[in-house]
């Protein structure tokens, strides 16, 4: 009965860390998407392994995906299910990439709804489907409300109010040309719009910064070659990700992994060893390490407890502090453990990346530190999800168009058109704004009465 025109995408597995996460897309554009992402249209209903590269060509993850063709899929439409490594950051990156490629974020229960509407479920399931949708959307609603009651809600309220104000001023000149309105205040409108743009940008930016919650705390593992940085990473992640060897300097580039510790998750970055006698190749790796370090929220300094206490490069020394660094004495399983000298500056934990000894203590230490980190970042953290960010970006685009028109022309009908679209995008986050509100504002501000 319904020709679906758009392609929807969403995480199909719960947010959090499991072995794998599944991102699903359904709709007419799925075949085109598969070709664009994986470079080929795979066999139907066959699990295929591939590199997932985002629209910019950057490798996101090594994934397996399954392609279903209408009507033989869950939704009855062309569908693709992409299974990636089970960390929220990767799944989120893939979802964001799908949205960037033109998918729409699915509404709660929308896959099931499509399945029903396409006749993939029988009548007796209708009630179950409805209850499911209700339950899911209520959970989503509860989650959204929680955010909206918080700082995101306050910000959105502020943005919406300001936009309605600007819009009402412009609409007044369209709808009441015969009224004795004050002279058009183009500079005032431009100023208001500029503020609105900045506030929207700030919100998007806070989202990126506050995305510590979502994208993880950038944690850089540093230390001398063969101190066991990659082994530690593997131990924390729980599977073999980094290539480890007894040969010092195996990690020449850097590696990234995500791991949940307490309430947060860390984006662990394994780096090339800081070898004081580095080869040219290693030099390059070390340079990268320092670049990574510059963006870090947290440092894990791995020290080989069987050797002497190494010295840190001064560039690192400067940015590492007791508030963001944990010293890890590795290889406590070896006989010579404890032979090296201890440092006093940072909180320290003794572990064996090989056997797993002390890893729980390390987790606890990280957790304590991230709690401090969180309060330092401040309570204004806003965890925008892909939907919110999508809507804000759309609003930003239309607000920019409106400002350009306001600068260059006096086409208020077009300016108003852009502003209304921006308002609609805001509405996708904080609830739809009734036309009536613009009129309320207009009548409150201007004496209309011919």
């Amino acid at each position: 009965m319904l020709g679906t025109t758009d392609t929807i995408a969403a995480l199909a597995t719960p947010v959090g860390t499991a072995a794998i996460a599944v991102v699903r897309a359904s709709g007419p554009a799925v075949a085109t998407l598969c070709r664009a992402i994986f470079g080929k249209l795979p066999e139907v209903r066959t699990v295929t392994r591939a590199d997932y590269r985002d629209a910019a060509g950057t490798l996101v993850d090594d994934v397996v995906f399954t392609y279903f063709v209408a009507p033989n899929s869950y939704t009855g439409e062309d569908t693709v299910e992409i299974s990636c490594h089970g960390n929220p950051y990767i799944a989120q990156r893939i979802l964001e990439d799908l949205l960037a490629r033109g998918c729409r974020p699915a509404d709660p229960g929308e896959f099931t709804k499509r399945a029903f509407l396409n006749g993939r479920m029988d009548l007796s399931q209708a009630e179950a489907v409805m209850d499911l949708i209700r339950a899911r959307s209520e959970r989503a609603l509860a989650a959204a409300n929680q955010q909206l009651r918080g700082s995101l809600g306050r910000h959105m309220q502020g943005l919406t109010d300001r936009l309605v104000e600007v819009l009402a001023q412009i609409e007044a000149y369209i709808d009441f040309p015969e009224e004795d309105l004050p002279a058009e205040n183009r500079q005032g409108a431009l100023r208001a719009l500029e503020e609105l743009l900045q506030a929207t940008r700030r919100l998007i930016a806070t989202a990126h910064y506050g995305a510590v919650l979502r994208d993880g705390i950038r944690t850089v593992i540093v230390g001398e070659p063969n101190a066991g940085k990659s082994s530690l990473l593997n131990r924390l992640v729980g599977h073999e990700r980094a290539l480890v060897s007894a040969e010092p300097g195996t990690t020449r580039d850097y590696l990234e992994e995500c791991v949940v510790v307490g309430a947060h998750f860390l984006r662990l970055v394994d780096t090339a060893g800081l070898n004081p006698l580095a080869t040219a190749l290693e030099e390059r790796g070390i340079k990268k390490t320092l670049e990574q370090a510059a963006q870090a929220d947290l440092f894990l300094w791995v020290i080989d407890s069987t050797g002497p206490l190494p010295t840190l490069p001064s560039a690192l020394e400067k940015i590492m502090s007791p508030a963001n660094t944990i010293a890890i004495y590795n290889k406590v399983d070896l006989d010579q453990a404890g032979a090296g000298r201890r440092q006093e500056r940072f909180r320290a934990v003794a572990v064996s990346a090989l056997t797993g000894d002390g890893i729980d203590k390390l987790r606890l230490a990280i957790q304590n530190l991230t709690e401090i980190l969180r309060t330092e970042v401040g309570e204004e953290l806003i965890a925008l999800n892909a939907r919110h960010a999508h809507a804000l970006e759309a609003a930003l685009e239309r607000l920019t168009d409106a400002r350009e028109l306001l600068r260059l022309s006096n086409s208020i009908e077009l300016i108003s058109n852009h502003l209304r679209c921006a308002l609609e995008s805001f509405g996708e986050i904080a609830g739809r704004v009734d036309n009536e509100r613009v009129l309320d504002q207009l009548f409150a501000r201007f004496c209309i009465g011919k």
Partner: protein, 589 residues
């Protein structure tokens, strides 16, 4: 015409053209009885331009009455209706004050401001819906008996002055446009269907539209006016608590203007002639319910009106209306079958809003008699669609007036495209003669041909279309194009100028169309649908939207509720013996 004899203006002007596109008479009647034409927002983009006209009050009325008298298959009778006649749950006719019964399968009620109407001038109250006319006293009871809930609204009108007592010399004149923008689409009409009302007096004959236009004049209130109003506020019917009805925010009384906008030193007033054969002037902007003696002082405090003689005082009027959410989108009552409502009884204000509803109610009453499904105009098809959807799905708390800002797709609803937008309805309902329908079709295929041509033809730097959008085209357009009618040229340039925006709006509509097309069966009992949230179920039960799109516009109804409704409806489609086979079935799930 109870108030200012002006037709059109923003959104209303577009609506008059839509009425014309649906075979209504308002546009032609305005064109041939107008004494001043102005295209509003002329300096702005064509998307927000709107025609407005000042009519000759009596000529407008007489010509329309004459037109009705000559209408085939229409019988006219004038009397005060005292009550409706019901049989079971249907209306079967009405009864007049002389106890004459008129029977019919449908009845349309258009009570204007006359239902239990009460006029206020200061503390003085008179029964009546317009100075010099009666009040319909008993009809309200008859509606209540049918289970229809009534509420009160208020509106007002300014004083009328004697023109020769006004000193115009110091006032700013506002002339009509040299080239009038007419309301009716004369380019698609058979020639010769205009006729004039010939009247005795100052002007002997009728007039061609746009000739011998008259002027309006502008003046302002003074500090003295404000002083007079402020010191007499306690005597105003509105400020002494005499009036319970809610008035319109866009048409405040002068009391309201001084109180609510205290920082504004003066308020603009227009002196508008009421006709060619009268010396009466309407003081636009000076609506009030102050006592008569205060009105005299107030008028005399205004430049140009120092010596003015009041012919009729300003007054406020209170009247009954029925919340329009009690109607189907066809304007038929949900409570009483066969009973239709149009105009101010639905909480609207304005001649244009009333005319649009009258037309739709008329068409739908006929369709009802024939047993056919009603004509429902979409929000994206015209302001009439916005009007009907707003009224029947949201209701109103103040007299409802159309504004362009109420429409989601303002750019698609330009006045020049009304015939094209509504062609589907006018053809399906046979609202226009075949010859006109054909001309409309030709006109819009010419528009399409030329818009394609301009986009596809190089004009130096990009296409000719790009040149139009940069505002540098006119001289470069081909001679054949210049030979097209003004209507074709203007509509073509409009589509080219706004191309990107129109495409985007069109796409939005298509996305929403799925919901717009899905009708919700009448009999549904929302309260029995366990999956719906209680708050949504109650709102849906009260407002009873006709389509999923209308349901989605109700505040507080969220997307998951719409999904649940969609599934319910789909369930009904799949099983012939499903919940919808018997309308009115109480339990659904």
């Amino acid at each position: 015409m109870s108030c200012n004899p002006a037709i059109g203006g923003q959104a209303k002007g577009q609506m008059v053209r839509e009425i014309d596109a649906l075979g209504g008479e308002m546009a032609v009647n305005t064109d041939v009885t107008a004494i001043q034409f102005r295209l509003l927002n002329e300096s702005r983009g064509p998307a927000v331009q709107a025609p407005r006209a000042q009519c000759d009050k009596k000529a407008y009325q007489l010509r329309l009455k004459h037109k009705l008298e000559l209408q085939d298959n229409l019988q006219i009778f004038q009397a005060t209706v005292t009550g409706l006649i019901y049989k079971h749950d249907r209306v079967v006719g009405c009864r007049t004050n002389l106890d004459v019964e008129f029977l019919g399968r449908t009845v349309i009620i258009t009570t204007g401001t006359f239902l239990r109407a009460l006029m206020h001038v200061g503390q003085n109250k008179n029964k009546g819906g317009r100075m010099g006319d009666f009040s319909a006293k008993t009809l309200s009871g008859s509606l209540i008996e049918a289970g229809i809930e009534l509420c009160r609204l208020k509106t007002g009108t300014p004083p009328r002055l004697l023109g020769r007592s006004i000193c115009f010399s110091g006032l700013q004149e506002q002339k009509g446009d040299r080239e009038p923008t007419l309301f009716a689409f004369h380019d698609t009409r058979d020639q010769g269907d205009l006729f004039h009302v010939e009247q005795p007096g100052e002007t002997l004959l009728g007039w061609r539209p746009g000739v011998a236009q008259t002027s309006c004049w502008m003046t302002y209130t003074t500090a003295e006016s404000e002083q007079i109003v402020r010191s007499n506020l306690h005597l105003s019917a509105m400020y002494s608590g005499e009036i319970s009805g809610i008035g319109p925010r866009y048409c405040p009384s002068i009391e309201d203007k001084f109180v609510r906008f205290a920082d504004k030193p003066r308020h603009l007033l227009f002196l508008e002639p009421e006709g060619r054969n009268t010396n009466e002037y309407y003081v636009n902007g000076l609506s009030t319910s102050l006592p008569f003696d205060v009105q005299v002082q107030l008028v005399h405090s205004i430049p140009g009106l120092e010596q003015a003689i009041i012919l009729r005082p300003a007054y406020a009027v209170e009247y009954d209306f029925a919340q329009p959410t009690q109607l189907f989108p066809s304007l038929e009552s949900r409570k009483m079958e066969g009973l239709f409502f149009a105009g101010q009884i639905n909480g609207t204000s304005g001649y244009e809003e009333a005319a649009a509803q009258g037309l739709v109610a008329g068409v739908n009453a006929v369709l009802k008699v024939r047993g056919e499904s009603p004509m429902v105009i979409g929000r994206h098809e015209g302001y009439i669609g916005v009007l009907l959807d707003d009224l029947t799905s949201k209701g109103t708390i103040e007299p409802y007036r159309m504004f362009t800002s109420r429409a989601e797709h303002r750019l698609l609803l330009n006045h020049g495209s009304a015939e094209g937008r509504l062609m589907g309805h006018s053809r399906a309902m046979k609202l226009l003669p075949e010859s006109r329908l054909n001309r409309i079709e030709q006109k819009f295929s010419a528009v399409k041909k030329w818009s394609d041509f301009l986009e596809d033809t190089s004009g130096g730097n990009g296409s000719l279309g790009d040149a139009v959008r940069r505002g540098e085209a006119p001289a470069r357009l081909p001679a054949e194009f210049q030979n097209e009618t003004k209507e074709v040229r203007e509509e073509t340039l409009y589509r080219v100028k706004y191309r990107g925006y129109l495409l985007r709006e069109q796409r939005q509509i298509e996305r929403f169309n799925d919901l717009e097309r899905i009708r919700i069966p009448d009999g549904i009992n929302y309260l029995a649908v366990s999956s719906l949230r209680k708050e949504s179920a109650q709102k849906l039960q009260a407002l009873r939207p006709a389509t999923l799109a209308a349901a989605s516009r109700i505040s507080g109804v969220n997307p998951s509720d719409i999904t649940i409704l969609m599934i319910l409806i789909e369930t009904g489609h799949r099983t012939p013996s499903g919940p919808w086979s018997s309308p009115g079935s109480a339990s659904v799930v």
